[in-house]
């Protein structure tokens, strides 16, 4: 296990990240439009949002890769613009697209980054070997990266971010495009990181991921933070799980709905396209009662499922109020594509 021996003095209490009103404009597009973030030292903070919401741009500004057009941000109390070189000594960045050298082998990559970070030749070699071992890449160490799978590349990328044992690590969509198994491995790695004292700020499109990892979450959309809180707070704002039902015979829909409303004591709704009945569900145990009631009425089900709130629901619920309407006038077109993107990710 690594210990965090980098000397830094958080001279502003215990905030790893403090961003105030960050703005970044590309041409006519306000990619980030006044983002405020506060990340506690030693925590995992998730930034959740769809494609194009401004997650990556925000991270790039915090990581000194982009200069903010307005607003300010401090990393452990150091300004990202004025003290950028200090900030760079405190952070590790793992980008959405693996930022490693394709033409070189894994070992060569890590040795070069280690040397750049001030390790001498033998230290760099040892560091590279240690990290490859830790990330299960020892066997592939000598192969050129061209032959690496997406998961291996990401792991190498993360390994490269950890060379200097930075107290703050930015992970931009660390698991997008990974298969479920590698994804779980990645999650474990991230958890281990935090146990050793690092602070992690990660972006993700998946509520599931934020749920698994993050202590606090900011939901970001159209360059704004539209909600912020702990995972539980956010979920509570959406409701708990929901029940989805489809009956074999469409004539039974009305009866089924009234049964559900009677047994579960909640409002139901019917989606028009597939005549699917949806109801919020607080107590999973009541499903048994409902199924017995349905059987007693002779109603046959075509499909039944219980789903946790998805990003779609959290997102649509949160953005459905206030923030969205205000933004709607500004970016009508972008908004449409966002909604579509959300809809696709079931």
């Amino acid at each position: 296990m690594r210990n965090n021996n980098r000397s830094y003095e958080p001279n502003n209490g215990d905030w790893a990240v403090e961003a105030n009103g960050l703005v970044k404009i590309f041409g006519d597009n306000k990619a980030v439009d006044g983002v405020d973030l506060k990340v506690k030292t030693g925590s995992i903070y998730g930034v959740l949002g769809p494609n194009g919401a401004g997650k990556t741009t925000t991270i790039r500004m915090l990581a000194t890769l982009l200069r903010p057009d307005a607003g300010s941000a401090r990393i452990f109390g150091h300004d990202v613009v004025k003290e950028s070189q200090i900030v760079r000594q405190l952070i590790g960045v793992t980008g959405q697209y693996a930022s490693v050298d394709e033409g070189l082998s894994a070992t060569e990559n890590l040795i070069i980054f280690s040397r750049l970070l001030g390790l001498d030749r033998s230290e760099a070699k040892k560091k590279a070997a240690d990290l490859l071992e830790e990330f299960g890449l020892t066997e592939a160490a000598k192969r050129p990266l061209k032959n690496f799978s997406g998961g291996m590349r990401r792991r190498l990328d993360l390994a490269a971010s950890l060379i200097a044992q930075p107290p703050l690590i930015f992970l931009d969509e660390p698991t997008t495009g990974l298969d479920p198994r590698t994804r779980t491995q990645m999650w474990e790695t991230i958890r281990r990181l935090v146990k050793t004292g690092s602070t992690v700020l990660l972006t993700t499109q998946y509520l599931d991921e934020a749920d698994q990892l993050a202590d606090r979450i900011a939901v970001i959309d159209l360059g704004h933070v539209v909600a912020e809180g702990t995972v539980d707070e956010l979920k509570a704002s959406v409701g708990t799980s929901s029940l989805h039902l489809r009956v074999q015979d469409a004539k039974d829909i009305a009866l089924t709905r009234s049964l559900i409303e009677k047994v579960l004591q909640v409002q139901t709704s019917v989606s028009s396209e597939a005549s699917r009945i949806t109801a919020p569900m607080r107590d999973a145990d009541l499903v048994t009662d409902l199924l017995i009631a349905l059987r007693a009425e002779g109603i046959h089900l075509a499909e039944m499922s219980v789903q946790k709130p998805t990003l779609d629901e959290v997102f649509l619920t949160i953005t459905g109020e206030g923030a969205r309407e205000e933004a709607q006038q500004q970016v009508e077109g972008l908004e449409q594509s966002n909604k579509k993107a959300v809809g696709v990710r079931g």
């Binding site: 021996n5 980098r6 000397s7 830094y8 790039r60 990581a63 000194t64 890769l65 982009l66 150091h78 004025k82 003290e83 950028s84 070189q85 200090i86 760079r88 000594q89 405190l90 952070i91 590790g92 960045v93 980008g95 697209y97 693996a98 930022s99 490693v100 050298d101 394709e102 033409g103 070189l104 060569e108 070069i112 980054f113 040397r115 750049l116 970070l117 001030g118 390790l119 001498d120 230290e123 050129p144 490269a160 060379i163 200097a164 044992q165």
Partner: protein
């Protein structure tokens, strides 16, 4: 440098020593890349061989009466032309390289901002060295025996390599500001052709029309070629070398900061 990253205090500035160290590490990366893709070296190996053969036998009789007496004129000329042409590749490769994700990491590391550029340019001196050695070897095979002796040939080689490195900052600048690698190639060639051909590389300047003579005489490439001829053919170091080195220094002084600034702005 024995200090590990952990022991360093936080500073907002990179020291000169660190800049040098970072640049050499980046140069090491460039060398590794050449080692991994040796086919990159095609141009620097083939061009000296083909150009030296071609130009010597095409122009030799017409300009100096016979090939043997043309060699002392053409070898320095072709040397400078070939090596400078090679430096264009620096710009195109830098452009291609910068489009890759790894440059994001370089930017996020606490290293000297100039290092990724300086390192790439430094690694390219290996290309100039290969081109230089091959040109002299071709000349030797064809019967060129520099009167200045081996030491002056080495000195001349160093001057050419150094000047090409300086010049490559111009192409690096194009590489950083251009959108695609092929446009870098295009702009660079536009600069390069007048510079190398409107010089004393292949023909005596006196045979040109007056207005062209004027340009050929002020052309820094002419000065470099004259300097190389002085060194290799008579073993003397003249004012031409001085003026060339000053010119090279000015180019670096102007284009290195420009390039770094453009590189920093482009994200």
């Amino acid at each position: 440098m024995k200090t590990s990253a952990a022991a360093q205090p936080l500073k907002n500035r990179t020291s000169f020593m660190q800049t040098v160290r970072n640049s050499f590490t980046m140069a090491y990366r460039g060398l590794l890349k050449i080692k991994r893709t040796p086919e990159q070296l095609f141009d620097v190996t083939l061009q000296p061989i083909i150009f030296t053969l071609m130009f010597t036998y095409i122009f030799g009789g017409a300009i100096s009466g016979d090939v043997q007496s043309y060699l002392p004129v053409i070898i320095p000329g072709i040397l400078v032309q070939t090596v400078i042409t090679t430096s264009v590749v620096t710009g195109t490769q830098l452009r291609e390289d910068m489009d890759k994700g790894v440059f994001d990491r370089f930017k996020s590391l606490p290293i000297a901002r100039i290092a990724p550029l300086a390192g790439a340019l430094l690694a390219d001196t290996i290309r100039y060295t290969i081109a230089t050695a091959l040109t002299f070897t071709m000349g030797y095979i064809m019967g060129y025996r520099p009167d200045g002796g081996f030491e002056y040939v080495v000195l001349a080689s160093l001057a050419v390599i150094g000047c090409s490195w300086a010049l490559s900052w111009i192409f690096a600048f194009f590489g950083v500001i251009a959108r695609t690698a092929s446009s870098v190639q295009g702009i660079s060639m536009l600069v390069l052709f007048p510079l190398t051909f409107l010089s004393n590389a292949f023909v005596p300047v006196e045979t040109m029309p007056d207005w062209l003579q004027w340009f050929a005489k002020v052309n820094p490439v002419s000065h470099l070629i004259t300097a190389v001829r002085d060194m290799t053919n008579s073993g003397t170091v003249g004012w031409d070398l001085g003026i060339t080195l000053i010119g090279a220094a000015v180019i670096v002084a102007v284009f290195a900061p420009l390039t770094v600034r453009a590189y920093m702005r482009r994200t």
